[in-house]
């Protein structure tokens, strides 16, 4: 379990990093927290010619709030996301989801940019950002562009990022007042990838469900937005019947597969179970928030 030889560069600026990516194209891999890349290299499943270590680009590690948007630098450690006062207050769903990523040691190294760019379909952050309707900033040779998280994921471990682009920022709309959000997942062990996970953001207007956004992970080749379930609740509010209908809609919309941890049937079933639980809890939280 040792990687084949590779070149290593450690640029000090985004421009330099992009320069390296441009020079080596698909042969380069960005090293951020390394929590997924290094095991894949050690297993020789990924064999980059050049490793572009961005850990010294300290300008990429920030969390700040501007114009109704929470902006997180791509190199923000997940541990910092979990512990950030700004994230906890302004987009609590993201903090809650980030706490489910791996273990403390992994979160100390792992970054939000790396988590998204790796695009593991069972990862929690993408599902939360789908529900939060976040976007990412990708910086490449022609400058920066913005990609909605909904458009970021193309398949397992595959994104809309160009090989010459670096994910430099994650932008999350600040959760408005009157909202409740919840992240729930089922995993075999604490810290494992989700067998099924769900992030819910629900805005309550009295007994009406003004807006609901649902992202799920672990039940498809990419994280998925559950639009049919959202429509059911926005149309008919939160009752035991609509919760059940939403769960059915989620079970219908997801596309899980079998592996040694759980069958597709199980994942589908649990996605439905979590839908009911997460929505019920988000509804209660939104009620508390409203008072």
């Amino acid at each position: 379990m040792k990687p084949p030889a590779f070149r290593y560069v450690d640029p000090r600026s985004v421009a330099d990093a992009v320069g390296h990516l441009q020079e080596h194209g698909g042969g380069a891999k960005i090293l951020a927290g390394g929590q997924s890349l290094l095991p894949l290299m050690n297993l020789r499943l990924v064999r980059p010619q050049v490793v572009v270590d961005i850990n010294r680009i300290s300008a990429l590690a920030y969390i700040r709030e501007t114009d109704g948007v929470l902006a997180l630098g791509g190199l923000s450690r997940l541990h910092a996301v979990v512990g950030s006062d700004a994230v906890t207050r302004r987009a609590p769903l993201l903090a809650e989801a980030a706490a489910h990523v791996g273990h403390l040691a992994i979160r100390h190294r792992g970054t939000i940019g790396g988590n998204l760019a790796h695009a593991d379909p069972a990862s929690e952050i993408p599902a939360a950002l789908l529900a939060l309707e976040g976007e990412v900033v990708a910086t490449g040779p022609r400058g920066a562009r913005t990609i909605a998280v909904a458009d970021l994921f193309r398949g397992p471990l595959s994104t809309a990022l160009d090989p010459t682009e670096l994910l430099t920022e994650v932008r999350v709309p600040i959760t408005p007042p009157g909202c409740g959000s919840v992240f729930l997942e089922v995993s075999r062990r604490a810290g494992d990838f989700a067998l099924a996970g769900i992030g819910v953001l629900l805005q309550r207007d009295g007994e009406q469900c003004a807006r609901v956004r649902i992202g799920v992970c672990g039940v498809g080749g990419t994280p998925l937005r559950m639009r049919e379930a959202e429509r059911i609740l926005e149309r008919s509010g939160v009752t035991e019947d609509t919760l059940r209908a939403a769960a059915r809609a989620v079970e219908h919309a997801v596309a899980p597969s079998d592996d040694t941890q759980a069958s597709a049937d199980y994942r589908r079933h649990v996605a439905g179970v979590l839908t009911v639980r997460a929505l019920r809890q988000a509804w209660q939280r939104a009620g508390r928030e409203g008072r």
Binding site: R189, A262, V270
Partner: protein
């Protein structure tokens, strides 16, 4: 037991002597061994479960700069013969496969290079042309007539089959009012120690000596066969023990790891280190454990008495048979559990398939039988409408029945099983939990209270390795443990062990025994580990034997030393040896404490002043003692009586309390009580650690772990992301209680305890889940109990209703 003898050190939770060096990083593990000029090995492993090697080309690998040696199976066979195996059948295995591979992960070629990176680069450059063969992926396909054979020379994949009958099984079943039947499936798991296996071999061409450092164990048994494999004279072949980062049974032999390092050292002329990486270890460690399907029957009377037990077991052994059917000999020592069951019959089919082969894992097969028996007992209780507690109480062997001979011929030395059960139920407060269970069930919640009352046999005799065979290959009967105790010139104690440090507490044990025997401070004892050429006979850690056996060896050596000490002291004090007493490191005339000599005085005389000694005594103050098994008898020729082979029998009752979320299938522990009776406790704190660690592994088996092979024989759980070991988050806080019923056969009344936690936990946890789900009509017949399975079982049960 009229009075408990007063002891100062045995029974005390002294700090372990082993810990400081482990915590400070000063212990020398195998990966810390560095020899001058040492090369690093990597192994090319088969991608196929069953295939013929048509052509293999290593020329590109050999040409890679930094590569010193590349050997294929054919080339290796010139340097080494087949690896040691302890089965009677001609199941031949080579460290590197020669003509065909028999499991995915089997070694096909090995490289020695300047570092592991280059070695793995070279592995990438080896080209193999394969002819894939039909795969024997499970026992059904293995036993199908005319199907593919794992070993053609055997003519069958049924490598061993036999029925052993003890007592009047037919009669007892005929007399029974009811027969409780279960079909049960125990999963393929493994010890998976955090430290993988490794070896450094150094072959010196001129002297034709080979020195091997390895984290192995049984070198008293294995060094000679290893020398034969590697074609080195046995008196020039030495295995040097190192600190071991966990074995739990998985590292007894390491036949291929050691042989591959040895072959590469011979081929390169340089020392070579081979460390398994995690994939090597999970896929090809040769240490997977029991993989069994059971049909089991318990004959009972209407009032709940157990009469007889019938077990039909098929075990998927994988591609080789290195240890024979040992793990089925093991449980015959306690097959009927703590119960008065009058007869028993076992039918074993040992089957070869295209998978990694078996070794033993903490429990060595007895933990499996405990689960089978406890599942039958709980089923009997349900069918008879009795409580799990009452049905057990009715059948437990009573204290006055010991020593108790079970139908197989093994003896249980002593016990008070009802006492253990009572304490466990008190500690957990069963009545309160039963009320809570009823209350929460009304609210739609599922609480389960599990009970398992199990034996934990200890101190094996080597007859268990072969008594299943009518004609054993090598019917060894010695199961010794030797030590040498030296009292140095200043009266300080040094002990030489002849077995490695395996993560248990051998240094602490010998220090406590010496402190007890001589009244010295145990923290002053120095402990060394001998290599196999210098070692006295010793079988090492395994079968929960080491504490008992070391205590026997050290007390034996102490007797010899005391005899000499008293003779020297008597001479110097002009007293009779019978009038002398030894206490607190001092020998004095009884009743006249001021007329005495310290051990330091006596030691100085023994080492430096020959003319002060009685004329017949030699200079020096040291003694060796090899303690043989305290109570073992041979099996009868017809195997209707296996003799005493595991007669030091501890006992435990575990009561886990779980809550199950039936919608997600997640199991949460609400409490876990474990009460053990391991005879006299040597060191209660160390014992608690053994119990807790064993329970953690038992929870792994019950709820998390499983090696999954697909129909092509590919291992789908070849990383620790897929093979789920329980972590601190999955293991509850465990409340431990103790009872002490001394053994009449061992020093101080000790019993072995190293495997106890894992002996009981799978049965107890499975019974807890069963208890929670029983109202839904679910039967737990298969481990691990995964969330997926729970959800499926609940749905299937609901569909049946």
């Amino acid at each position: 037991m009229a009075d408990t003898p007063r002891r100062k050190w045995v029974g005390k939770s002294i700090r372990r002597l082993e810990d400081p060096k482990l915590l400070a990083g000063e212990a020398r593990y195998i990966d810390d061994v560095h020899e001058s000029g040492m090369l690093h090995a990597a192994v090319l492993r088969s991608p196929y479960a069953h295939a013929r090697i048509k052509r293999i080309d290593t020329s590109r690998a050999k040409a890679l700069p930094g590569v010193v040696a590349v050997v294929t199976g054919k080339e290796a066979a010139v340097l080494a013969g087949p690896v040691p195996a302890f089965c009677a059948e001609p199941v031949v295995q080579h460290a590197i496969a020669i003509e065909k591979v028999r499991f995915a992960g089997e070694a096909v070629a090995a490289v020695a290079a300047v570092d592991r990176y280059v070695a793995e680069d070279a592995i990438d450059l080896i080209e193999v042309e394969w002819e894939p063969l039909a795969v024997v992926s499970d026992v059904e396909s293995a036993l199908r007539p005319g199907g593919p054979l794992v070993h053609e020379n055997l003519g069958t994949n049924l490598v061993f089959g036999r029925t052993l009958t003890f007592g009047d099984v037919k009669g007892d079943f005929a007399r029974a009012d009811r027969v409780v039947r279960r079909r049960l499936r125990w999963p393929r798991v493994a010890a998976v120690p955090l430290e993988t296996a490794g070896a450094v071999a150094k072959y010196e061409r001129t002297s034709r000596r080979m020195t091997v450092w390895a984290n192995t164990n049984m070198y008293h048994y294995s060094a000679m066969p290893f020398a034969g494999t590697l074609k080195v004279d046995p008196n020039k072949f030495s295995i040097v023990p190192v600190a071991v980062g966990g074995s739990f049974g998985s590292k007894h032999l390491l036949s291929k790891v050691i042989t591959i390092a040895g072959i590469l050292s011979k081929a390169s002329g340089r020392p070579v280190k081979f460390m398994e990486d995690r994939i090597d270890n999970l896929a090809a460690s040769d240490s997977h454990a029991s993989d069994r399907s059971y049909g089991a029957e318990l004959a009972v009377t209407a009032d709940g008495r157990f009469l007889s037990l019938r077990i039909d077991v098929v075990d998927d052994y994988g591609a080789y048979f290195q240890f024979g059917q040992t793990s089925h000999g093991n449980y015959l020592s306690q097959v009927t559990g703590p119960y008065t069951i009058g007869s028993v019959e076992i039918t074993l089919k040992a089957v070869l398939t295209n998978k990694c082969q078996q070794m033993v894992y903490r429990g060595a097969g007895s933990e499996v039988n405990n689960w089978v028996l406890e599942a039958l007992v709980d089923t009997a209780a349900r069918q008879l409408g009795m409580s799990p507690v009452d049905v057990r109480r009715k059948n437990l062997i009573r204290p006055e029945q010991f020593p108790y001979k079970i139908p197989t011929g093994n003896y249980y030395d002593s016990g008070n099983y009802a006492g253990v059960l009572d304490l466990a139920l008190r500690m957990v407060d069963l009545d309160r939990w039963r009320q809570e269970q009823a209350r929460l069930r009304a609210a739609g919640r599922y609480i389960g209270i599990g009970l398992a009352t199990c034996q934990q046999r200890s101190v094996y005799s080597a007859t268990e390795f072969w008594f299943w065979y009518e004609k054993p290959g090598f019917p060894v009967t010695a199961t010794p443990e030797g030590v040498t105790v030296r009292i140095g010139q200043s009266g300080q104690f040094t002990v030489s062990l002849n077995s490695p440090f395996w993560g248990n507490s051998p240094e602490t044990v010998v220090a406590q025994v010496l402190a007890e025997e001589f009244g010295i401070d145990p923290s002053t004892v120095s402990v060394l580990y001998e290599d196999s050429l210098r070692a006295l006979p010793a079988a090492g850690p395994g079968g929960s034997r080491l504490t008992v056996m070391l205590a026997g060896a050290v007390t034996g050596a102490s007797r010899k030393l005391k005899d000499k000490i008293f003779r020297i002291a008597a001479h110097l004090l002009e007293a009779s040896p019978q009038d002398l007493v030894l206490a607190d490191g001092k020998v004095s005339v009884a009743g006249v404490p001021q007329r005495g000599l310290t051990l330091a005085d006596i030691a100085a005389n023994a080492h430096f002043f020959k003319m002060s000694l009685p004329a017949e005594l030699e200079t020096g103050l040291d003694a060796s003692h090899t303690y043989d098994h305290p109570f073992t008898t041979p099996p009868s020729a017809d195997r209707s009586d296996l003799g005493a082979f595991y007669p030091i029998v501890a006992h435990a009752a575990h009561v886990p309390v779980v809550e199950i979320d039936i919608d997600t299938g997640l199991v949460k522990f609400l409490d876990y009580v474990a009460v053990h009776d391991c005879g006299t406790m040597m060191n209660p704190a160390a014992l608690d650690g053994q119990i807790a660690g064993g329970i953690a592994q038992g929870i792994g088996t019950a709820l998390y772990e499983e090696f999954v092979y697909d129909s092509e024989g590919q291992l789908r759980t070849a990383s620790l992301l897929d093979y789920l070991l329980p972590t601190a988050a999955e293991v509850p806080s465990i409340r431990i209680g103790h009872q002490e019923t001394p053994s009449p056969y061992t020093p101080y009344g000790l019993k072995g305890s190293g495997e106890g936690g894992r002996m009981v936990a799978p049965a107890a946890v499975a019974n807890a889940v069963q208890d929670a789900l029983a109202p839904l009509g679910v039967e737990v017949s298969e481990l691990p109990i995964t969330p997926d399975r729970i959800v499926r079982w609940v749905r299937e049960a609901q569909a049946r209703r």
